[in-house]
Symmetry: C2
Subunit: 342 residues, 2 copies
DNA sequence: ACATTTCTGAGGTACGTACCTCATTTTGAT
DNA sequence: ATCAAAATGAGGTACGTACCTCAGAAATGT
């Protein structure tokens, strides 16, 4: 049997009350006593029984995911995973919610964050573009006693905060490697499609992409990033335009998380079967694209992992615990037709 | 606040004792009453508080991983993950152990399994080659009240049991696709290296591999599988031999989980940089191979996921619960230099 | 040595469920 | 209608921790 607080009290030669004071960081204990208890903890290998602690506390952990208001399929997946996790986690005393904010205006995000307090929520998983306003708002949120982790976006601005998501530069590099290796023709141009290049994430992906492409595949030249602003109409126009002006396009890298508009446009304006197409994230549309040969590979981060990892980190912060960092690394998944599984 | 058994009793119009009888499947309750309670459960959305239940039961879940006695790096990873998980899971009342058995003799495995009983262990995660003896031993184990899941090997024989691992045919297909796409030269031969072709897993991988290669890359022809029997010496001999007899080898598919001997042999007997090499599993050796260009891609299953998934399934069986199947799918990961992360 | 503050101990209740006993009611068969 | 069997209720204890109060001990300053 695992040692209990009683055993700990006996070992440390103090009372249960003192053990409790030490374990829960309550005041009124001499340093010497604290050390004695800690030594006893080490000695007998005491670990708090979380089941009992949760029961006694009767506490609910309330975590909120702040998501962009726009977004389509990938975001839908993410929300679905949040709901799914919410089902399972209710058992463990955690309640997840999500809130949508437009990403168009950093001030609006900051404003929204400023309305959150420890009375409503114990932790926030924040998916937001990098900006000073958001950065400050997150810091103030933390000062108010709400724990914060950054989700998917904002690895750079994360700073003190934990970051849950992939390294975008590596993701871009991965895309370039796949494009380069899959393309057996000698030379040609590569179209890069982004929602906007104002986002740090896009810049990172592009940076990683260019690095590998220029170094290892000099016969391929990547065209300037096309910006779609998430508008299907515009997406189609810019893609039609770039294809018209470049006869020797051999590949396409769709950088944005929402690949649907670009895939649709490609299907309409070209024969994507003859192009090497690499896109991001697994959604119903990208899955279809993979199966039909419209796309050749996907770079994905598993939304379920993202959600569960964010929750584990927030929970650990609330309990002032440490986590196994290696378990919280979100892998950059490469998906092709053959390893789609399920 | 979540409804408790008290609320449930009130809602169902029965006593706490009866609620307890229904919830824990104890006898002596009329069907009508059971239904009434179940209806009330639905109505108020009662869910058992696991923290409290665990506390009250004071039960320890003891799970044992049965692993092959031989095996090197991949198995080491697996063991490390088991230990790691054991750390974290102690908190949740679970204790993991692992036991090594030689895979050379199915009777020995069966014999070992027959010595396990519910007095020692509540569940077994069984990594063993397919064989009638093992199959029977697993069934008897289950009859004795020890839950069983199959791990990595034995998807086909799993039958009633849950299987934790990847689909080997898809894994083989994935390998073939990568080899086919990475190879831009016109034609040539592909070497396939296995530990033994007696194992069902190897056959499955080979099947998936051949399917894709013959259909989509007819200019590549896969040579008969080389068997290494896990012996470094023999590995080197067979590889040297096959390279001597085939000048036009363009790729190598290392099917076995332990890629080290084959990679070492390849490095000694050829210039692996000029070959397309696809191997299985992420270990220190395969990681190095990827970084140095000896290997071009890895097909991997995440050992941490394997362990955690097996534990979740065993736990669910013990509690007679159901699980979110989709969360328990082990992905076939494709790893290249760029997406190795950490 | 005194008063005063700071620590510590003893003991209690609570959380929600599991599991037990014993008395009582209801049911079904005769 | 009677009786045994089956079903149910009432009430208890236990799990390990959190959090509370109050009394008493020890340390501190004067």
């Amino acid at each position: 049997m695992r040692p209990t607080t009683k055993d700990l009290a006996k070992e440390a030669g103090v009372s249960l009350a003192t053990v409790d004071r030490v374990l829960n960081g309550r005041p009124g204990v001499r340093n010497k006593t604290v050390e004695a208890v800690n030594a006893a903890i080490e000695k007998i290998g005491f670990v708090r029984n979380l089941s009992a602690a949760n029961l006694a506390k009767g506490k609910q952990y309330r975590f909120r995911f702040m998501l962009p208001a726009h977004g389509d399929q990938f975001l839908g997946e993410l929300r679905a995973r949040i709901d799914e996790a919410n089902q399972g986690l209710g058992v463990e005393g955690m309640v997840l919610s999500h809130q949508e904010v437009s990403h168009s205006d950093p001030h609006l995000i900051a404003e929204t964050l400023s309305q959150i307090g420890p009375d409503k929520v114990d932790g926030v998983a924040l998916m937001a573009p990098e900006s000073p306003q958001v950065r400050d708002a997150a810091l103030r949120l933390k000062e108010r006693g709400v724990h914060v982790v950054h989700l998917i976006s904002g690895k750079q601005q994360a700073g003190d905060f934990d970051f849950v998501g992939i390294d975008n530069q590596s993701a871009g590099a991965t895309a370039a490697r796949l494009l380069g290796r899959f393309n057996c023709r000698k030379e040609g141009k590569v179209v890069v499609i982004a929602e906007t290049m104002n986002a740090r994430d896009s810049l990172e992906r592009r940076k990683g992409f260019d690095m590998v492409l220029t170094r290892d595949y000099p016969h391929l030249s990547a065209l300037p990033s096309l910006e779609t602003y998430g508008d299907p109409r515009r997406t189609r126009d810019v893609i039609a335009n770039v294809l018209r002006n470049n006869a020797d396009v051999v590949g396409v890298y769709i950088m944005s998380s929402e690949a649907k508009p670009a895939l649709d446009a490609l299907a309409a304006e070209s024969d994507p079967q003859s192009l090497i197409v690499v896109a991001h994230e697994l959604t119903s549309r990208t899955r279809d694209a993979l199966m039909s040969g419209e796309a050749d590979a996907l770079i994905a981060q598993n939304p379920g992992h993202l959600v569960r990892s964010a929750v584990r980190l927030l929970r650990a912060h609330c309990d002032n615990r440490s986590v196994v960092k290696s378990q919280e690394v979100i892998r950059i998944e490469i998906l092709i037709k053959e390893n789609l599984s399920v």
